[in-house]
């Protein structure tokens, strides 16, 4: 299937000389949830802002569903909804009016029924006649989402959607994003909450100092880079790891009570059988064992360190 967004050799250098993006190439698949991860200042927002027409690229080409975002900007932008990072709203406007305004701005005729549906989905219907300035931060965030959805976009950009949002709203938002994806909308979100990417994304891109260092299916990424650890709780504490076990690169922790074995899930042989045999031979007995897999967060931290 043809990608819905194709980014080719995209670079951006700001007038200040700051290089925000370096030669980024990326394809976004139709109907996926794509999470763009990266530390602050990595270029996530610049990338999104270029895609939405807010920042002018220095070089490169972007095609959105067959439309060049420069030459054919009207057709390209009509497809895109943007939820910005900052809570920027028209404080004096009423909720319903501001959402209707957005729909008009994107070239669509009035459709109060649709706006009502969007507001109901976001639990904003009760607040439709409230001025935005009277709303809480979480409500304002919802208003921004409603504005982005007002023109029935096929692609939705969420720039740090859950920054400063409470747990309940965050989960609401995750549900909403899944619902949108199920209805065929492509969702691209930036975040530095790894759990968000882990929870939501089909694919993950990691951006660092303006470079896209990795793009991978989330499951694949976790499988490839995921390390597993086996922890053995010993009956009696050890002062040191016996020489006979040196080949297994074990770590001792928990005051000598825990032996930790790290292995690679990609490897054909994990070495667990050998380890257990050697443990029996050394007459080390254990009372419990557990395995754990590294989270996307750990993977991410490793990645960013690696490229530092």
């Amino acid at each position: 299937m043809q990608p819905i967004i194709t980014i080719t050799d995209l670079s951006k250098t700001y007038a200040s000389g700051l290089v925000a993006l370096k030669n980024v190439n990326l394809e976004i698949n139709r109907g996926e949830i794509f999470a763009l991860l990266g530390p602050n200042g990595a270029g996530k927002s610049t990338l999104i802002n270029i895609l939405c027409g807010i920042v002018t690229p220095s070089s490169g080409r972007i095609i959105v569903d067959g439309h060049d975002i420069g030459g054919d900007y009207r057709a390209a932008r009509r497809l895109i909804g943007l939820v910005p990072q900052e809570l920027t709203t028209d404080a004096f406007e009423k909720v319903f009016n501001t959402v209707s305004f957005s729909r008009g701005l994107f070239g669509l005729g009035k459709n109060p029924q649709y706006i009502e549906q969007v507001l109901r989905d976001l639990s904003l219907w009760e607040k439709r006649d409230s001025r935005i300035m009277s709303l809480s931060g979480g409500m304002k965030r919802r208003v921004l989402i409603a504005k982005a959805l007002s023109h029935e976009p096929r692609i939705l950009f969420l720039d740090e959607p859950t920054a400063g949002v409470d747990v309940e709203l965050r989960q609401d938002m995750w549900r909403m994003v899944r619902r949108l994806r199920d209805s065929g909308v492509t969702v691209i979100l930036t975040t530095h909450y790894i759990e968000e990417a882990e929870e939501m994304a089909d694919r993950v891109g990691v951006i660092r100092k303006g470079e896209l260092v990795l793009v991978e299916e989330k499951a694949e990424l976790m499988r490839k880079l995921g390390k597993k650890q086996l922890t053995l709780h010993l009956h009696e504490p050890l002062l040191a790891i016996p020489d006979s076990l040196a080949g297994h690169h074990l770590e001792l922790s928990g005051n000598g009570c825990d032996l930790i074995y790290t292995y690679d899930t990609r490897a054909g042989r994990t070495g667990i059988t050998g380890l257990l045999t050697d443990l029996a031979a050394a007459d080390l007995r254990f009372q419990d064992l557990q395995t754990s897999q590294s989270s996307l967060e750990e993977i991410f931290v490793d990645l960013v360190k690696e490229h530092a």
Binding site: R74, A75, R77, T88, F92, N97, F101, G104, L105, F106
Partner: protein, 253 residues
Amino acid sequence: MNWPAIRAIYGFEMARFWRTALQSIVAPVVSTSLYFVVFGAAIGSRVSMIDGVPYGAFIVPGLMMLSLLTQSIANASFGIYFPRFSGTIYELLSAPVSPFDIIAGYVGAAASKSILIGLIILATAALFVPLHIEHPLWMIFFLLLTAATFSLFGFVIGLWADGFEKLQLVPLLIVTPLTFLGGSFYSIDVLPPFWRAVSHLNPVVYLISGFRWAFFGKADVSIGICLAMAALFLALCLGAVTWMFRTGYRLKS
């Protein structure tokens, strides 16, 4: 053309006008009445006629122009500056709208407002002095041309300003003096020759003069020159705004 977008921007801006109706409508009515009391009654009783027109009636076109200029600039500059200041400009920049759509919405709304205020002032003035408009169609044409030109000028200021202070600077330091010195309350013919010559460098002179001609059939400067100068200023503003959008000046990085 993205008509729904133009309509949305226009509607948004006009809604702001009605929301602050007291400020936007009552204020000009009050200030016009004050001008009539001060200039019309106090001074007008000593200056009986200018060019065969009673002084009270003579100042009406100038008063309308004064409000038209200041209101057009104030409305248009604030209209585009505020979204830049608050950050809501992101939506405008990411919308499928051309610079023309944006200008049509913002400048159209600002011009509508100042025309409305101009007409309110005319109606208020009619309560004080008997008015007869010699060339009503030309009067309306000048009204439209001036409102559009100076709303565009205000739009340029709103794009250029990077603080509320600068937003006030141009209207306060340049436009108001030019209007007062542009013959709002007198014929520039009454000035000494040197200052009369200097006045010809003031673009507002031509607007007021042309407008006054539409009212009374008499003017300081010939109507052809007035039209040419108004068109020139419109062209300058269009040029500036085109350049700003083409380069993304203060809008896009």
